[in-house]
Symmetry: C2
Subunit: 183 residues, 2 copies
Amino acid sequence: MAELPDTTYAVLGLIDKVPGASGYELVAVAGRSFAHFWPISQTLLYRELDRLTGLGWVAATRVEQLHAPSKWTYHITEAGQQALADWLATPTPATSSFRSGALLRFFFAYRMHPDQVRSLLADYRTALQAQAEELMAIMDKLAAVSTPAARAGRLTALHGLRTAEARLQWIEEAEAQLGEGDS
Amino acid sequence: MAELPDTTYAVLGLIDKVPGASGYELVAVAGRSFAHFWPISQTLLYRELDRLTGLGWVAATRVEQLHAPSKWTYHITEAGQQALADWLATPTPATSSFRSGALLRFFFAYRMHPDQVRSLLADYRTALQAQAEELMAIMDKLAAVSTPAARAGRLTALHGLRTAEARLQWIEEAEAQLGEGDS
DNA sequence: GTTCCCATGTAACCCGTTACATGATTTT
DNA sequence: AAAATCATGTAACGGGTTACATGGGAAC
């Protein structure tokens, strides 16, 4: 049986965490929970919902509403709980991928005018600051809650925050080196 | 005209940086230069080579060898230089993507046994340490060279190093919180 | 009365990956 | 005799993306 992508388990875990949510709600939750280290688009999430119901790992229930369109709500099944536990138990192959357009351009900085390099770093700083603020907001919101789930969420947000901070620091170093270098 | 992916410009920039290299050599160079923030597989690089020659941005020359198979070598053209400069000049949309299997699992830590969480963090630490050492090796190798290109390369490596260091620090924090928490 | 929220979905694309094939030469 | 290096390529897959369609109710 072909190995399933981690995204499938990400959605499965979300349904386990937020039982009875609709696809629409799950998209929103995914957007403000694990999007920072595992982004998924709306289309993809809906596709995974289909796959999970097909696998029998989640059960879909139709819910009619009066003041809003009808929706499907999702609950994890026992088979799904087992699959989630199995996935969490497997010694993770540490799949991680990082791609940064800013760094890629910076790698070719010697082909740019110094002003271009400066503005590149400035843009990067702005993006990192925005990201840091977003993560701090998440942490603030979770600070009130004291469940194990909230603690895990807070720590993953902190991971992103620490990363952003380190990179902002790096920008200082890079700018300093730009200053001392001649051209 | 459809926008080209950044990968195309990454390869174009490499050819500009290492003129007269073969596809085989470019794969190796890409592996030890920008792979840390813009990984590309061999197949993909060869495909971009085709695309770039088709665009007239690079010129391919056949070179016969006596003690090794024949090869194609690549040089950037004037049109290619212009395209590279244009790409570097465009205010980058800051495309960046990050996906971490370790974090994704950690996000669901409350569904794991404490020992599993500990080993997850331990594995993550090992991976980060290996990454940090790799980056330090790159910086050491580039430390001797004092060209603008080497400086840019060193700084991108430093970016990765600072990131890894911050994350290793985060692991300490996370482990501390695991200790104080009950379950 | 236009815009936003809820809610689900289709279509098309392509980037990037893994696995495999080939074959000569050089090194162990 | 086996393994590594050089060198280029094919085949197949699928994960993830963007863009678009639809439509009713609520809010401003």
